[in-house]
Symmetry: C2
């Protein structure tokens, strides 16, 4: 517990309350800068009572926004001085790498009791971000039960159901009465997570049913849980992908999803806030991959990290483009003879890339939402090709007119026709490639989003220009030019 | 209620139970085709008892998957014959346009009592998809309370908090005791939505607090709700955007978010399943817009719809590319003289488009997650430009080598240097354009995702090629070539 220090001007407790009030007022007015200023001033005076009171006047996510404005040594200083549950709340709310970075500067004696107070899944995430040596020391300093639970969670991959679940769930027995269950709830810390379901286990800790608080509250106190519970319970395995857990919760509209181990023991629960995080993460991941970004990249990563992650991809893309450069080199004498062809390349490549990226985005999103139906695959691909064909013909006619103007009187007919034909073919095939490549990747067990517009665009670019040049040459020789 | 019809072979009730058992078994084995076959066979025999029992053996989303395999007349036939609550469950689970399409073929006398049983927000969605004339007739045939509530919801835009909320929430008074509240809960239909919070109103229906079931269940029966409730409650206004509601629920980890009208009356609640839907919809919308797709497009829309929605966009893109074609036409004599330049264009355009799309995706996603911080804008743009500069130099050196090979001995030096310089500059500017355009759109109140790779790519394509050609000409004349 933190005793506020007195200053010459006013009694400490009054001042603490005044800071809290001022912070609350500024926050209600949406004046974030003033909130930061007030708490920062208290921190500068090392008036921890006022800092704590100011932070407590904010909702947890807002509290963390203020906390993040301090430098890392101030943050560590605060965590050392604050009561453990308050420090635990702060670390829980911080984004993944930051909590670990800050925690790495705290001694095991300071950090362990804070981790004891955290949700087990959040504590595991912080520990995983610590250097190996420190990890062991902190785990040993933790409370035995918490240590055991956290160690178990740390063993699961980050993107598995086991890595995402919390061990903080409320389990009861089928033989309990409603009164027993309510007594059990009363005995627990009311802040101990948000509860929606209680989980019913048999004597061997197998999950046999769930009961909602709604059911419990309206039931007669003497009734047996076993008679009231729902025994048809959906669950996932610890080693299932978190995306499957997310899709299951979304599809069946679940507030919480139990996670079982290989022997059907209940080992954890994935909760509503995890579902929301999974959905956001998976959407970000797909959007990033579609443009060739690493899904681990953060918007404000250091420049060196961003360069290291993106450069290999750009280089690979460049190497792939060599196919097109080589092909064009082969057609060099044709381009040399008819420069208008080169001037028109961008029309072909830009449109093909677009159509491919559109078909790909539709397929990737469909697969991500789990709304994928094998019977619909052929229908979808057929549709995308047909859309490409019709749009290709329409855009091709427009591009053909442009080509006629660019080509000049002598070549107008041949280049115009070649443009219409190449555009139509390229957009048809663009629909097929854009839709087909991610479907194929999915079928063979890869993430469909790694198809990414980079690859699809390279393919349609090369194909489109080659089609344009070949059709031109074919037409020209047929027409005896 | 549906009486199963008897057949010659076996008593109807046995058969009904047998179908349900068979469906349950097939479903547990994951054999969806067999489930469809069993229920389809019962439907073909017009054995509605067995159809209902088979459907009832499935979870609601699976039930709808089976229902969707029937043709629309069979679907309407089923809805007419099923008990209203069962029919209501089916219509609730169907995706938006389909529920309306099916409902459009039902008479007001059949449809109204089904809508009465549905969640008010879902009923409003179905009604909004009906033709105007039918809408009025169905509303008049509905139960008066439901009609009033649904009419109110129908007045709000689809993507506003009002259009997304449900009117099915449980309200109590601050003067009630815990016992009163529990009595009130008992009196309600236990299937009536999933409840997490009760909402506390004053005598004028203003929202004054919330109380969770968890708080209620552990409280003494005689305590007053006003003494237990949390009075610091977050809410949104009916006309706020659904995205704001989603971000608020996600940020503060809320299970449900109350919606108030302009006079602070509680008028509805946005629930957990709505949050999940909003997040998915907004992610799909951003992904679609980034490649120039209309967010209303569905993967299996008819070809004509897809063509109509995509063609104007492709045509616009083609017209924008005219800038590049015109610029290239201006450089025609240069290209005529040095064909190697044209062969190398694709290297420039492909890389610039990539880098722009990456910066844009990062910014669009950051804005969508509401993690946008004004102070970070300059930092982010500076970072993207610097990343573009370093990557541009690295990729440029590689591309310069390719250029030297393609150019041949005479032009090697000039073209190689021009390539390095143009690539470096273009990727630096690509980072600025990709990051800056969506930020600018956001600042002036547009959806940042409409920046879309299509526009950014056109800009970087044109700029990159112009840079390459200008730098080449400058170098060549400086070196006296």
């Amino acid at each position: 517990v933190n005793e506020p220090r007195t200053t010459a001007r006013e009694p400490a407790l009054d001042r603490t309350a005044a800071v809290a009030d001022a912070v609350r007022d500024a926050h209600e007015l949406g004046d974030f800068e003033r909130v930061v200023e007030l708490i920062g001033a208290a921190l500068a005076l090392d008036d921890l009572g006022a800092v704590t009171a100011g932070l407590a006047a904010l909702r947890p996510p807002d509290r963390v926004d203020v906390f993040e404005t301090f430098d890392i040594e101030e943050q560590r200083h605060l965590l050392r001085e604050l009561a453990d549950p308050v420090a635990a709340d702060l670390l829980e709310e911080l984004e993944d790498p930051f909590a670990g970075m800050i925690a790495a500067g705290l001694s095991p004696e300071v950090l362990a009791p804070i981790l004891d107070e955290m949700e087990t899944d959040e504590a595991a995430d912080v520990l995983l971000d610590l250097p190996q040596g420190q990890q062991g020391a902190v785990l040993q300093a933790m409370d035995d039960t918490a240590e055991a639970e956290v160690r178990q969670l740390m063993a699961y991959p980050d993107d598995s159901a086991g890595g995402r679940m919390t061990r903080d769930f409320i389990a009861i027995r089928a033989s309990d009465t409603v009164e027993d269950a309510i007594e059990h709830l009363r005995a627990l810390d009311p802040d101990d997570g948000l509860v929606y379901y209680l989980y019913v286990q048999d004597a061997h800790d197998h999950l046999v049913g769930i009961i909602s608080l709604r059911q419990l509250i309206v039931a007669a106190p003497g009734s047996r849980i076993g008679d009231l519970m729902t025994s048809d319970v959906l669950s996932v395995k610890v080693d299932d992908d978190q995306e499957l857990a997310g899709q299951t919760m979304q599809r069946y509209d679940l507030r919480a999803l139990p996670v079982i181990d290989l022997e059907d023991h209940l080992v954890g629960v994935i909760t509503h806030d995890d579902l929301v995080d999974v959905l956001s993460e998976e959407a970000t991941e797909d959007m990033y991959r579609l443009v060739g970004l690493d899904e681990q990249e953060r918007p404000l990563d250091p420049v060196s990290t961003a360069v290291r992650k993106r450069l290999p991809w750009l280089a690979l893309n460049l190497v792939m483009q060599l196919a097109l450069v080589a092909a064009l080199t082969g057609f060099r004498s044709t381009i040399d003879r008819v420069v208008a062809l080169a001037v028109l390349f961008p029309l072909i490549t830009a449109q093909g890339g677009n159509v491919g990226a559109q078909a790909m985005t539709i397929v990737v999103r469909l697969l991500a939402l789990g709304e994928f139906d094998r019977a619909e695959v052929r229908q979808l691909l057929g549709k995308e090709m047909l859309v490409g064909l019709i749009n290709g013909l329409a855009v091709g006619l427009l591009a053909g007119l442009i080509a006629i103007v660019v080509a000049g009187p002598q070549q107008a007919q041949v280049i115009g026709l070649a443009m219409v034909a190449a555009m139509t073919l390229n957009l048809t095939i663009g629909g097929l490639i854009g839709g087909g490549v991610p479907l194929l990747l999915h079928r063979i067990g890869f993430d469909p989003a790694v198809a990414s517009s980079v690859f699809v665009t390279t393919l349609t670019d090369t194909l489109g220009v080659l089609l344009f040049l070949s059709i031109y040459l074919g037409l020209a020789s047929w027409m005896g030019m």
